[in-house]
Amino acid sequence: MSLMDILAIIIPSALFFSAPLIFTALGGVFSERSGIVNIGLEGLMVVGAFTGIVFNLTFADRLGELTPWLSVLAAMIIGALFSLIHAVASITFRADQVVSGVAINFLALGGALFLVKKIYGKGQTDQISSDAVFNKIDVKFLSDIPIIGPLLFSNAYVTSYIAILVAIISWYVIYKTPFGLRLRSVGEHPLAADTMGINVSRMRYIAVMISGALGGIGGSIYALIISRDFSHATISGQGFMALAAMIFGKWHPIGALGAALFFGLAQSLSFTGQMIPGLRDLPTVYLLIAPYVLTILALTGFIGRADAPKASGTPYIKGKR
């Protein structure tokens, strides 16, 4: 296979693989930038996947074309509401944020499967219909550009582009708007923010709910585009990969985007690798672990240290120093 062929294979598949991670990692960025550690991302994705699939199965015949979009919307809303639990616990009740995050993960999986059994009388849902999913597209005009056209703009899902767009928007919001400035101030030095008349709890509530919404989207597009159903194994570790992407990206939206894309590339490279003469003779295990080893090497080699927002993990209690 020529390099071009290989790229033409791995880049599109990296794009759809990364999209859910991008959304979810961005959610993590919002939450942690406001000072709330969120290792509940996994759980938020579960809730998103569950909602997306159930909504899709329930309304597909009535909503037609719009079904996938509305499924994602539903997942977004439910994700945001679900994350309120984390917000209440860790902001209002000053819970240890890691503990609360862990609880979120248990609650999400337990609750979702419990409901699936209630609703469908079995442990996993049916496959959603092919008429109610996002389709692969070639972007008009762009896909005709030589070289990058086929690589970047063909055989892709619109959600991947939305993910990248959302990453850029997030960067703008966090670094260019008053809201973003306040968000970061609350995550760095809540007392200072308070003295500047910023409502610390409110900012943190908003941030956590944004992370819930984005996590919900991430989970739903994973389920809608990749697994097409929901079961105990649909979301198994992607949330933690998103967490890794967020840290890898140094709590920065564009960084998180880059990290998520990196994971996607590494993954699809390792699978495509199995078909490249020479590499195919390697024992499979080398290719299976390659993405993770690459990540560690990348971190060690040129990413290096990253500092979390100063106040992340610590509840803000008025009048305490």
């Binding site: 708007t177 306040r182 101030s185 030095h189």
Partner: protein
């Protein structure tokens, strides 16, 4: 319409049973600088935090321009034209000066912060009040002095008419203090009124109109500065006589304990901070290093104590070469160190004060025995030190965090002095402390000297240097530019040398 812009009447504030403010009354006249004076932990910050809306009073009332008000949060304080420069700066390191100033009331158009406009406004303000800042610099990269000017700008940006300064000078160099005092005057001329918390009586005498003294949470008395003097104020605040000039017998210098030859150290940004520096400290003397902040003091210290790498030169302690040795080796050879930043280096704030007392010695007998800690021994030692150095804490099991900076500092000094080292390094040992505590600490340093130990004192406070040192070395741009005898020099001369001026034979500045 009363003559007072602010009236705090019988303010009471408790922290879980502990009475921090016990019916304190403070009245601020339009256009005056009103000093608030009290020991560490007397309740000054608490009182001001009440006025600024960070704490809610448990009793009493607040009036602004004669109107009774309820300041339930800082927003309301801002709206009432009250601004506060906090004791522990409220700045966000990773933000720029401008971002810190506009935070919470950002000029924006189409949802985007208009950073250009903001920076212009900041420039205008800093010009008007003579508060030199670089609007686009990150807080982490600017000097403490500039950080404080940023704090002041924050309040002015919000149109504050009444400004509260909580121990603004504790962290400043003499130069910066001079500038600050000028700034305060400008502010008054611009029609502002000021409450100034400070432990430095000299400053009160210099700029303030009236002063309110509080002790252990109770209001003692309010006097016109013109009708009082430092000694009266000191005894009012401490509740006993305080001597300022710590008198001491003249030193009998012995052998050379610390010898530094051609030391070169690079700072974190890898620029030469200590530049071929030579220095010697003898047994039985206190060598004071005078200098403006940022002339290499920090790097010099870290080099001597092994916290940072030496690029060239040799450091000798007790005839042993300690250049680039790990901190523990150096400690064992006989060095103790009262660090500049007590919270960052001095203490493990989440450990009980007792455990902090053995921070460098826990692994040695009698505090531990082949790897097993001996808690009874440690507690005994801790109680002894707490007693001896009068560290105000319920017991040795209280975590260090809950102590006032003043008492935290005493604990550190107790620990370091108790190791009875050949060389004691004291960096800014009295920063932020009240005169009582300062007097106590100075006596301890001199005691060490009198036991024939070498003491290296680094301070930005000239009168501390002048008071305590037997010899003064002036550091400028990483070099020792002069060594003078405190008896034969003047603050003016030192100030000049610290600014890089030359020195003539007669010791009269040219």
């Amino acid at each position: 319409m009363s003559e007072y812009v602010i009236e705090m009447l019988n303010i009471r504030k408790e922290f879980g049973g502990f009475v921090a403010n016990d019916n304190i009354t403070l009245q601020l006249k339009q256009g005056e600088i009103h000093a608030l004076l009290g020991e560490n932990g007397a309740g000054k910050s608490t009182l001001m935090n009440v006025l600024f809306g960070l704490y809610q009073p448990d009793g009493g009332e607040i009036r602004v321009q004669g109107e009774k008000v309820n300041i339930s949060n800082p927003n309301i304080a801002n709206d009432l034209g009250i601004g506060m420069v906090h004791q522990h700066f409220m700045l966000i390191d990773i933000f720029t000066v401008t971002e810190n100033i506009i935070l919470g009331s950002e000029p924006s158009k189409a949802g985007k912060i208009n950073i250009k406009k903001a920076e212009e406004e900041v420039r205008a303000l800093s010009k008007r009040y003579g508060l030199a800042v670089n609007p686009s610099a990150k807080i982490a990269d600017i000097s403490v002095g500039m950080q404080q000017r940023v704090e002041i700008l924050k309040t002015l940006y919000r149109g504050a008419e009444i400004l509260i300064f909580d121990e603004p000078t504790a962290v400043l160099t003499p130069q910066e203090i001079k500038e600050l005092i000028q700034i305060l005057r400008n502010l008054i001329n611009e029609g502002k009124s000021i409450i100034l918390i400070t432990h430095k009586l000299k400053e009160i005498m210099e700029v303030c109109d009236r002063v309110t003294v509080i002790r252990k949470g109770k209001g003692i008395k309010t006097v016109n500065v013109s009708e009082t003097n430092p000694n009266d104020l000191a005894s009012l605040m401490v509740g006993r006589e305080v001597t300022f000039k710590t008198e001491k017998i003249s030193a009998i210098p012995g052998k050379e304990v610390l010898i530094i030859e051609d030391l070169v150290v690079k700072d974190s940004r890898n620029v030469t901070a200590v530049d071929h520096l030579n220095l010697t400290v003898h047994a039985g003397e206190i060598l004071g290093i005078a200098g403006v902040d940022g002339n290499g003091q920090t790097e010099l210290l870290e080099a001597i104590t092994g916290l940072t790498k030496v690029d060239a030169g040799i450091i000798t302690l007790n005839e042993k070469n300690i250049t680039n040795l790990p901190p523990r080796k150096i400690t064992e050879i006989g060095m103790a160190h009262i660090p500049q930043d007590r919270h960052k280096h001095g203490l493990v704030l989440d450990y009980p004060i007792g455990m902090n007392m053995v921070l460098q010695t826990y692994y040695k007998r009698p505090f531990s025995n082949n790897g097993i800690l001996k808690f009874d021994v440690i507690s005994k030692k801790a109680r002894q030190l707490i007693e001896e150095f009068d560290v105000r804490t319920p017991d040795e099991f209280t975590i260090a965090r809950a102590l006032s900076g003043g008492n935290q500092q005493k604990a550190i000094i107790a620990r370091e002095v108790d190791r009875n080292p050949e060389l004691l390094i004291a960096a800014q040992p009295t920063r932020g402390l009240d005169v009582g505590a300062i007097e106590f600490i100075h006596r301890r340093l001199i005691e060490q000297r009198d036991h024939g130990k070498a003491v290296l004192l680094i301070s930005f406070e000239l009168d501390e240097i002048m008071n305590v040192s037997d010899r003064i070395a002036v550091i400028y741009e990483g070099k020792i530019v002069a060594t003078v005898d405190p008896k034969e020099t003047t603050e003016q001369e030192l100030g000049l040398l610290m600014a890089g001026g030359k020195r003539t034979e007669e010791g009269v500045p040219s």
